[in-house]
């Protein structure tokens, strides 16, 4: 589904990703961990098409298409979804109105029928349950005045509505208490259907107790330096990143 080859990217002239390789197949859940500044959020931003990030080399292929050549909206329509680390507040745009526009844009591009207000409400009601959202939240402006937990739930709710093929969760667990973490994880797990793929970016093993990954990768200095199963996450939890850093430095020396 997604093939990243030798990806190099920089922001403000500073190279962050220095030759990253990753292969994600349909139905897989990949966790990406790593110390601060290793390039985790840069990877998410480059995949979603944030314009401040400059790609200096490598390729990213999504279902045979050159992802890097696509506008952010076309990536979304093709089935790539980014759950933001810091969801943006948009005063004056109601959550429901925004989502209806987005859902129908995505459906149009997939040749699906456009939902009328009634069908949309039915769909919304059903998906709201996944993240225990109440109706009032959909009527409020997008993320405006939402708590940290509400914002993250709203991201997963949007994901559920847009039905992406590949979801990238950028530190969705940051700032969540244990209840919110459970709600968000349940929402993600409900969407796992053996076809959808997920890239879960996180600092903490804790999230991976809820969203169990097939693979765990460690990103360090812009490259994936170690890959393994969920056991690797537990090992990192126990031993920290120093041993990984040492291994990586030794390899470079």
């Amino acid at each position: 589904m997604l093939t990243i080859k030798d990806l190099k990217a920089s922001v403000d002239g500073k190279e962050i990703l220095k030759g990253l390789n990753l292969e994600v197949k349909a139905g897989e859940v990949h966790a990406i961990m790593g110390p601060n500044g290793s390039g985790k959020s840069t990877l998410a931003s480059v995949l979603a098409g944030r314009s401040e990030y400059e790609v200096n080399g490598g390729t990213v292929t999504f279902e045979g298409q050159d992802l890097l050549d696509m506008k952010p909206e076309d990536r979304a329509r093709a089935g790539v979804f980014l759950a933001f680390q810091y969801p943006v507040e948009i005063p004056g745009v109601s959550n429901a109105n925004f989502l209806k526009t987005a859902v129908n844009e995505v459906r149009k591009s997939r040749g699906q029928e456009i939902l009328d207000s009634k069908d949309f409400l039915v769909m919304m009601k059903e998906r709201m349950k996944l993240v225990e959202m109440d109706k009032a939240m959909t009527q409020r402006s997008v993320n405006e005045g939402f708590s940290g937990g509400e914002k993250k739930r709203n991201e997963i709710f949007q994901m559920a509505m847009l039905e992406p093929k590949l979801s990238i969760l950028d530190e969705t667990d940051s700032g969540l208490d244990i209840d919110a973490l459970r709600i968000v994880s349940n929402g993600v797990n409900a969407l796992r259907d053996g076809k959808r793929a997920f890239i879960v970016i996180t600092h903490y093993q804790r999230l991976l107790d809820y969203i169990v990954p097939d693979f765990v990768h460690v990103l360090y200095k812009g490259r994936i330096v170690k890959s393994g199963t969920k056991k690797l996450a537990l090992e990192l939890e126990e031993k920290g990143y120093d041993w990984i850093k040492e291994e990586a430095e030794a390899l470079n020396a």
């Binding site: 098409g49 909206e73 948009i90 005063p91």
Partner: protein, 445 residues
């Protein structure tokens, strides 16, 4: 203050039809003639302000008054009828709508059933004998130093008067649709309103400004005086959707007595040159006042909003939000003054002006001014000018919404924040529709 006049233009041309209507006000004719004469003399002295005058610094009126504006005919037959007047209705079917065509009340086109008890609406000629009218007409808007108020007072004929008795609450919105409809060039149209809401009364008044026959150059000069009595509540809106050949200058003066409430929304979409002056005088304790404005400019439009909130008494609250969206080569101006007088302790006064520039050639001059002479007050003001929020734009695009639609959504949201504060749902809907229409036209260009 500098009152240098433009010598090259003949300000007198604006007064040359002064004698055409001298017998309009029955028994009170002498009284109102005196006021008219006084104002005409004032205008002759004041003349048209130049940019040397601080209050007119950014607005160049000299090209405008190179045109020799003549007063609109007040004998011309009306063209608008009840059916065609429907296009001007903004406040639903129950609204009381008066159509004022070229500055004169067109009764046949108006939608007025029997007025509720305690409410009188009519022209100055019809209500001239009412003591309240004599007490307040031309007593609040400043004809001594403001040339266009003086000009208007001298030249307006069908002033529209609203008299709301004590304790009367009117649910229906009162709308004045001011329509310029002329087939002549360089016509000046004076428009005048006086609203008196007595103690404990409540009403909603909408002034809307329209143009038929859009190709002709017209100068609309409007003055409104609103007297809000003790404990009274007045909701107001001024909607400006005139043609791009319209020059529009208006003064809106509100005087609030103690414990009163006032909420005004100003929506400016039309005209090639527009100057809104809004002056709120808080003359009693415990007043609450809201001023919300939205101006959306495109092409080469110029819009200038000058507001003044004068806190003369203690314990009052004022809150002002003005937003501008400025596109193409248009020019926006905002000047918001708040005075807090020495006696006005415990004043709460807030002001915010936010602008979005949509093109590199668009400009905004914004000047918030706070002058505080009391020591126990809470005041804040701020002005921002920026482009569209790129983070929000990316967020929308990352959900599959194409860039142009995402921009439109954000622009609409920015502007709608002002309209969403309108209390009447029907009016709010109409205003959102007018806004969408203008934004759509801007996107297509």
């Amino acid at each position: 203050m500098n009152s240098t006049t433009i010598n090259t233009i003949n300000a007198n041309s604006l007064l040359q039809d002064f004698d055409l209507f001298t017998d309009l006000y029955g028994k009170q004719t002498n009284y109102f003639q005196e006021i008219r004469k006084f104002s005409a003399d004032k205008f002759n002295v004041l003349g048209i302000p130049t940019q040397k005058n601080e209050e007119w610094k950014y607005l160049n009126l000299s090209p405008l008054f190179k045109n020799d504006f003549r007063s609109v005919s007040h004998t011309q037959a009306f063209e608008i009828d009840a059916a065609s007047a429907k296009q001007f209705h903004l406040c639903g079917e129950n609204a009381i709508v008066f159509v004022i065509e070229n500055g004169r009340l067109n009764r046949a086109a108006s939608n007025v059933k029997t007025l509720p008890k305690g409410l009188s609406i009519g022209t100055l000629a019809e209500l001239a004998d009412d003591a309240r009218v004599q007490k307040h007409f031309a007593q609040h808007a400043d004809a001594i130093t403001e040339p266009f108020v003086a000009l208007n007072t001298a030249m307006s004929f069908d002033a529209m008067i609203v008299l709301l008795d004590e304790k009367i609450k009117i649910n229906e919105t009162i709308q004045f649709a001011f329509v310029t409809n002329t087939n002549q060039e360089n016509i000046s149209v004076p428009i005048r309103v006086l609203v008196i809401a007595e103690k404990h009364s409540e009403c909603t008044v909408v002034e809307s400004y329209h143009t038929l026959n859009e190709q002709h150059k017209v100068f609309v000069n409007a003055v409104s005086e609103v007297v809000v009595g003790e404990e009274a509540r007045v909701h107001y809106a001024k909607i400006q959707i005139e043609s791009e050949n319209t020059f529009h200058i208006n003064y809106h003066q509100v005087n609030q007595a103690k414990n009163s409430y006032q909420h005004i929304t100003s929506l400016s979409l039309g005209a090639s040159l527009l100057r809104n002056n809004l002056h709120i005088q808080l003359d009693g304790e415990n007043c609450t006042t809201y001023l919300n404005g939205l101006y959306v400019l495109s092409g080469t439009q110029v819009m200038d909003n000058h507001t003044l909130v004068d806190h003369a008494m203690p314990n009052c609250y004022s809150n002002e939000l003005y937003k501008g969206m400025i596109d193409d080569k248009s020019q926006g101006i905002f000047n918001g003054k708040i005075f807090v007088r020495k006696d006005a302790q415990k004043t709460n006064a807030y002001q915010s002006n936010k602008n979005i520039l949509l093109s590199n050639d668009a400009s905004i001059n914004t000047k918030p001014q706070l002058e505080i002479f009391a020591d126990d007050v809470k005041c804040s003001h701020g002005a921002t000018t920026g482009q569209i929020d790129e983070e929000a734009l990316f967020y929308l695009r990352s959900r599959g919404i194409a860039e142009p639609e995402a921009r439109a959504l954000l622009n609409h949201a920015f502007a709608a924040a002002v309209i969403n504060q309108v209390e009447s749902e029907l009016l709010k809907e109409s205003l959102l529709l007018l806004l969408s229409r203008k934004l759509r036209v801007m996107e297509e260009v």
